[in-house]
């Protein structure tokens, strides 16, 4: 068993608010440079750059977890983490069906889809900055139905965090963990596992916050076990 440092909440140049330098090889290079063992890609309401980062990571032996940061209709951000790209792409179909509006790049920023070598493939015109019409409960359910882990993002942040938007964790909401912001005091969140990731939109922010896991290897299955404290897998104290 090893201690692996993971930052599983990174944006790419696909997120309108992410800097254009957040391309697959630059993300992987920066993650390796600062010593991360696992990263995850969670763009807003889209997974179109996940496969590219996964392949760029594979070139450098850096495991990349497929993910998405979904905005529920209450404007709560929820991370979905998955074992393979196919699962997150299927969830993306549902998210897109429930996401209205068209992006105006001049107003909100460019949404660039790239390949694993950072070549620009296209711009996506969905309004990724918007909220879906899925309720918080439906969002968590959809993530689970697609085989993923549902984590309430930056739960302590005033905007787009579960507590800021809805005051308290709804009773019976089957979250797999909560994510807290960098340097936040670790609270007691209804006995849910607590992780911290950077939510990086800029290269310089990668790894600003991370979580150390005790795992055999940096895979989705191992991280899922750590969140459930199974088979000796665990989250180290933040």
């Amino acid at each position: 068993m090893r201690q692996l440092r993971a930052d599983l909440h990174l944006h790419t140049c696909l997120s309108p608010c992410g800097e254009l330098e957040m391309v697959p090889s630059a993300i992987v290079k920066e993650a390796k440079r600062i010593g991360l063992d696992v990263i995850g890609v969670c763009d807003h309401n889209s997974a179109e750059n996940v496969a590219a980062v996964v392949r760029a990571g594979a070139r450098e032996d850096l495991p990349v977890i497929a993910g998405m940061e979904i905005t529920s209709r209450e404007e709560v951000h929820v991370l979905g983490l998955f074992g393979d790209e196919g699962q997150v792409m299927r969830l993306q179909d549902l998210v897109y069906e429930n996401l209205a509006g068209e992006n105006d790049p001049e107003v909100f920023g460019h949404q660039v889809v790239v390949d694993e070598f950072d070549n620009v493939l296209r711009l996506t015109d969905k309004l990724l900055i918007g909220a879906t019409s899925l309720s918080l409960e439906e969002t968590v359910q959809a993530i689970h139905d697609s085989g993923g882990l549902a984590i309430a993002a930056h739960i302590d942040r005033e905007r787009f965090g579960l507590i800021g938007q809805l005051g308290l964790i709804p009773a019976g909401l089957p979250l797999d963990a909560v994510e807290v912001s960098p340097r936040s005091p670790v609270g007691d969140w209804d006995n849910l596992p607590v992780v911290s990731f950077s939510d990086a939109h800029f290269l310089d922010d990668i790894g600003k916050s991370s979580t150390c896991f005790v795992l055999e290897e940096g895979t989705f299955e191992e991280i899922a076990k750590a969140l459930r404290s199974e088979d000796g897998r665990a989250i180290m104290k933040l």
């Binding site: 507590i163 005051g167 308290l168 709804p170």
Partner: protein, 84 residues
């Protein structure tokens, strides 16, 4: 809603566009008099049952926040004074 928890006082009327069932928990926790949902939004899921169990009145209006608040203000209902 964290603002409501932080600032609302017992007996306040809450005007909101959130329709999540948590409005009932937050309102009851703070002993609010009732909730008005704006822009014609209907409460979701079992919000109504929960509100009935808590004895919390919920009203729905097609008006936007600005207008419903303006009209309530005209009836003499004022905002919560700042406590700092």
């Amino acid at each position: 809603m964290s603002d409501v928890i932080a600032h609302a006082r017992e007996g306040s009327l809450w005007v909101t566009l959130q329709i999540h069932q948590n409005i009932v928990a937050v309102a009851s926790m703070n002993d609010l008099a009732g909730v008005i949902l704006v822009n014609g939004r209907e409460p979701e899921g079992d919000t109504i049952e929960k509100a009935e169990a808590e004895g919390l009145p919920i009203m729905v209006t097609p008006l936007p926040t600005f207008e419903v608040v303006g009209r309530l203000y005209g009836l003499g209902i004022s905002g919560i004074p700042r406590t700092g």
